[in-house]
Symmetry: C2
């Protein structure tokens, strides 16, 4: 087994203060490895990085079109959003269109990631609801499929028809049986795969076209285009997914997952990327995906959104630059 390799470094003055290692794979349309770092066969939980896989049944089933979902809704179904008004309003409208309410969601509640929204709630005496959950878009998608399937309300049960459909799609596009699942922060099962498997899924998305031969290819292509076209619905202002997708001008779809997973879909190159920082640090997964996107020529190394992740100054309480977060230059 190949050990994880250093991918991101935190420097303070002349000292390497912390270092993050991980596994990364670039895959082509054939599912083969173009280049890998660390162990491509390392088993990981993709967490939210696989939301576009979890959204496949929404399109494959015809449920999305039956419900009249827009490309914006499709982007939102793949989101880990920060509960800003553009996100909660979309979730509320979507549920209303299904004749459902936020009570039908099974994702649970947490304070919005967006500090301004959190503060505004506090100042107005309101509290967060399930609409603010970063996964509420995915769950709106789940409820849409569920209505189409006419299945029971506990749609996050791993044996629910919806989750069985998700698993089938997941295993199909990762090209391997999943060795099992963990329960995610939003209570849905999160299927395990290898870093290679996740990269293979991204390459499938990258190589799919909206005029493709299979329903699944067409679904994948529509989801990719939706994510790349509406970056602010996939995450939110200031966030890596949103800022880096904007910097790439709609040509590439990327997605973060908890515990430092990051994936990218590059349609023009028909390449997929998956990486996992083994310690789970998001600062490092953001740095590593930026380095890989620069390497592949789709992200400008000098774009402010890139520099913020790839060579980010660390400032202290008085604003003095005390160090840098840097790529380990393995890519």
């Amino acid at each position: 087994m190949t050990s994880p390799v250093p991918m991101a470094e935190v420097w303070r003055g002349a000292f390497l203060e912390s270092v993050h290692s991980g596994h990364a794979v670039i895959c082509d349309a054939s599912g083969g490895i173009v280049q890998a770092w660390g162990n491509p066969d390392a088993i990981i939980l993709p967490r939210s990085s696989c939301k576009m896989l979890q959204a496949l049944p929404l399109l494959d089933s015809g449920a999305a079109d039956a419900a009249g979902l827009t490309p914006e809704d499709l982007a939102f179904s793949c989101a880990s959003h920060q509960g800003a008004a553009i996100h909660t309003a979309r979730a509320a409208a979507w549920l209303k269109g299904l004749d459902l309410s936020q009570d039908d969601l099974r994702c649970g509640t947490h304070d919005p990631y967006d500090t301004d929204t959190r503060d505004a709630l506090l100042l107005s005496g309101e509290t967060a609801c399930q609409l603010h959950n970063n996964c509420s878009g995915k769950h709106c998608g789940f409820l849409t499929v569920n209505k189409h399937l006419k299945a029971g309300p506990e749609y996050v049960d791993p044996n629910h028809p919806l989750q069985l459909a998700v698993r089938e799609a997941f295993e199909d596009v990762t090209g391997m049986d999943s060795p099992g699942f963990g329960i995610d922060g939003c209570s849905a099962p999160n299927f395990a795969t290898s870093v290679h498997g996740l990269a293979r899924a991204m390459a499938f998305f990258a190589a799919s076209s909206e005029g493709g031969a299979t329903v699944r290819e067409r679904s994948a292509a529509r989801l990719t285009r939706a994510m790349a076209s509406f970056p602010e619905l996939v995450a939110g202002e200031g966030r890596a997914c949103t800022e880096l997708m904007r910097a790439m001008g709609g040509k590439v779809a990327i997605k973060t997952g908890a515990e430092a997973v990051f994936v990218a879909i590059l349609p023009d190159q028909k390449l997929g990327i998956a990486l996992k920082i083994t310690d789970g640090a998001t600062r490092a997964s953001e740095c590593a995906i930026a380095a890989l996107l620069v390497k592949l020529g789709v992200l400008n190394a000098n774009h402010p959104a890139t520099l913020k992740r790839l060579n980010a100054p660390i400032t202290n309480r008085k604003g003095t630059v005390t160090g840098y977060l840097r790529s380990s230059n393995v890519f």
Copy 2:
């Protein structure tokens, strides 16, 4: 060079989702290594874990006694506090006693770590000031020495007499020349040392007594007792330093530092501990220090404060237990 060893693991269901590695040393009063994991010679920035070293000139110089500081003040001078009322009130009173104000601090401002205090500030329309900075206690100590030295106001300059005194004390108790410094979050120089050097300093503190032969030994013993006696002033409610010191009943002093450093002073055993998780994750340094304190028989493995770090359930947005943060059982 010995690689860092796995020290903490994040499990989700049946899957090892993330893992944290590090270096750790237990040192005895002679400065010798009792046991080590990883590389004892790894150079680290101790960050806030060395605040009791930075406080030595405060006592050595006689400044603390001249200013009539209490044991509570001494504990607070070693704090990374969360800006709750008990912390900011103490800082304000201390500065007033010196005929100074928060404008004389050079630590900078950040929102209080304590969420309730942050929310209360927001709701009252106030903003955080330098008193809320987690290092304001250390800086009150710095200003006290500075007044005693009759030195200039820019006391965080690495060449300021105060920082030269800190460096002398730091190198004395770590038993080695410092290879340099980084600038800390609070703008003070933070001197580098090895994990062994930091553990040696903790063993010096552990073996020192208030009736000791040297001024420095007496200073070290007073600081240790102050920290162990007033855990709530060293961090705050809910925090690892506070809860674990309380669980050990005032017999052991411990201190966290940014980027996953943790130290412990065990006076009864005359042992010192230092550890660094190489990826900088605090969840892991808290887990590892708890494991070491249990191993050495000073922390009850079944105490709620221990379980919260050593075998901590991870719950999702609906309160379901989805996994655990666990020690890697290397200790």
